[in-house]
């Protein structure tokens, strides 16, 4: 059950972090 839990959080977490990272990188242009 714990493995399944980890996999589920990775499945939703990776795309979310990818999107957040992309956004943050672009946002840095505001302060350059």
């Amino acid at each position: 059950m714990k493995t399944r839990l980890g996999i589920m959080w990775l499945v939703v977490g990776i795309p979310l972090l990818w999107g957040a990272w992309n956004t943050l990188q672009n946002a840095l242009k505001l302060f350059q």
Partner: protein, 461 residues
């Protein structure tokens, strides 16, 4: 897929089921439908399907393409209100499955519309069908999460609804990547992108469909005992969806949500031109796009942060913070523009937008406090009509006031000041409604059996 697999009875969790599997299941659905916030990435390409580099005769214009998103948001509100009780009856798995069919199918119908160059098919596909998918998917996991997390309802719904904010962060770069990948000398690659996204989103939503479970009747988290002295606004009774809308509490909450969303959505839609016009020569279109992205990030983070905070300080107090801090921030924005501080301006809007997102994610737990868990999903669906109203009212308010001032000779850099003060007034109305909130009169309480209130529970963790 057999109907028995989708039925509520076959979704009841067995012993040992870990309740922390339910938030990622809900997130899988909400991350997909959050794509709606990034639909504008398709606006320009859809106006250049024939001309490719610029609009040619026969190409759709931006105004007509803009209706696709508006129709989707209207149908989001309508479908969540109309199908709320159906979602409660059939359970989260079947409703998530139907929403995946609608949302994924909406992309495919729209792709046919692009192929035939028939804009009405995009209105029907992404707008009507996709919009219904948005509405059903939005409310599907909410009451399930509240039942799994009676100890932390704000955190649980905040996690799911955070996905709706976060979906745009994924969809915007994904759409651009896919269009770039599929573009050829004779095509913008929009058709192929729609088909791919329809399939990807359907499959991703199916992860949520397969994973989601409802707790066994009477289940409680191990070691959790409901307080014997609940807070003044936290009821132990239940109000049915059919009765809830007749209570003043429903309409006070409707106003609370509507005012909070109107104030946020108005500036969210105008963020890019607003920062460019308030800081002329200092903020370009590219850096303005970064500002919009940053606001999306805070929109997402606010949904989790504020809803989780509401578990500790209470729902009414959380909305007090939204309104009082919102009024303070909006009233300071013209000053930050006047002194030319981009950092303070951006900071103020990040706080404002975090509270806009927080308003969405805190409302399900607020409804549960006031009306109980019995049909909270259906009541939530009905309340989302406030979102549809705000979606029309907010941008119209901001656009028309700005246009009126510019037409009367106000410099562009100062044209937003009055808008900000009107936003303060809207938040003040919301604050008054929130202060007026009281417990529901017992005459409205549901007297019959409540399906989830049954004997002692199993031992899920």
């Amino acid at each position: 897929m057999s109907s028995s697999f989708l039925s509520r009875e076959n979704t009841i969790a067995g012993p040992g089921f870990n309740r922390f599997l339910v938030p990622p299941a809900a997130l899988a659905v909400h991350l997909c439908i959050g794509q709606a916030y990034a639909f504008s990435t398709f606006n320009l390409p859809l106006t250049r399907l024939i001309g490719l580099t610029e609009s040619a005769p026969g190409d759709w214009n931006l105004k007509d393409v803009g209706w696709i998103f508006s129709i989707a948001i209207v149908f989001l509100g309508l479908s969540s209100a109309v199908f709320g009780r159906w979602v409660e009856r059939v359970g989260p798995r079947k409703s998530m499955f139907v929403s995946a069919l609608c949302f994924g199918g909406g992309f495919l119908v729209s792709a046919v519309g692009i192929q035939l160059h028939a804009l009405w098919l995009l209105y029907l596909g992404y707008g009507v069908l996709g919009g219904c998918g948005l509405g059903i998917a939005y409310i599907s996991p909410v009451s399930t999460l509240i039942k799994w997390f009676p100890d932390r309802p704000g955190m649980a719904t905040g996690m799911a609804i955070m996905g709706f904010g976060g979906g745009a962060l994924i969809a915007a770069p994904l759409s651009v990547l896919l269009m770039k990948h599929f573009a050829t000398a004779t095509s913008k690659g929009v058709l192929e992108t729609f088909v791919t996204m329809g399939v990807i989103y359907f499959m991703f939503m199916m992860i949520g469909v397969v994973t989601v479970r409802v707790p066994a009747p009477g289940w409680r988290p191990s070691g959790w005992v409901p307080s014997e002295h609940p807070k003044a606004l936290v009821t132990t009774a239940n109000v049915s969806a059919a009765v809830a809308w007749r209570t003043p509490q429903f309409w006070l909450l409707w106003m609370v949500l509507c005012m909070n969303v109107t104030a946020g959505i108005g500036v969210l839609g105008q963020a890019s031109p607003m920062i460019q016009e308030m800081f002329p020569g200092r903020v370009t279109a590219i850096t303005a796009a970064s500002f919009v992205g940053l606001m999306s990030l805070f929109n997402m983070l606010g949904r989790f942060f504020w809803a989780s905070t509401s578990d500790f300080i209470g729902r009414r107090n959380t909305y007090m913070v939204y309104f009082v801090l919102g009024i303070l921030m909006y009233s300071l924005v013209p000053y930050f523009g006047h002194i030319g501080s981009t950092a303070l301006f951006v900071g103020a809007f990040c706080i404002i937008i975090s509270m806009y997102g927080g308003g969405f994610s805190t409302i399900p737990a607020y409804l549960r406090d006031i009306f109980g868990t019995f049909q909270v999903g259906a009541i939530h669906g009905a309340l989302l009509t406030a979102w549809s109203a705000a979606g029309v009212f907010g941008p119209v308010l901001v656009n028309y006031i700005r246009a009126y001032q510019i037409d009367h000779g106000v410099p562009k850099a100062q044209a937003y000041s009055i808008t900000m003060y009107i936003m303060c007034a809207l938040l003040l109305v919301g604050l008054i409604c929130n202060i007026a909130m009281r417990a529901v009169n017992p005459k409205f309480h549901h007297q019959g059996a409540v399906s989830d209130a049954a004997p002692a529970g199993s031992k899920q963790s």
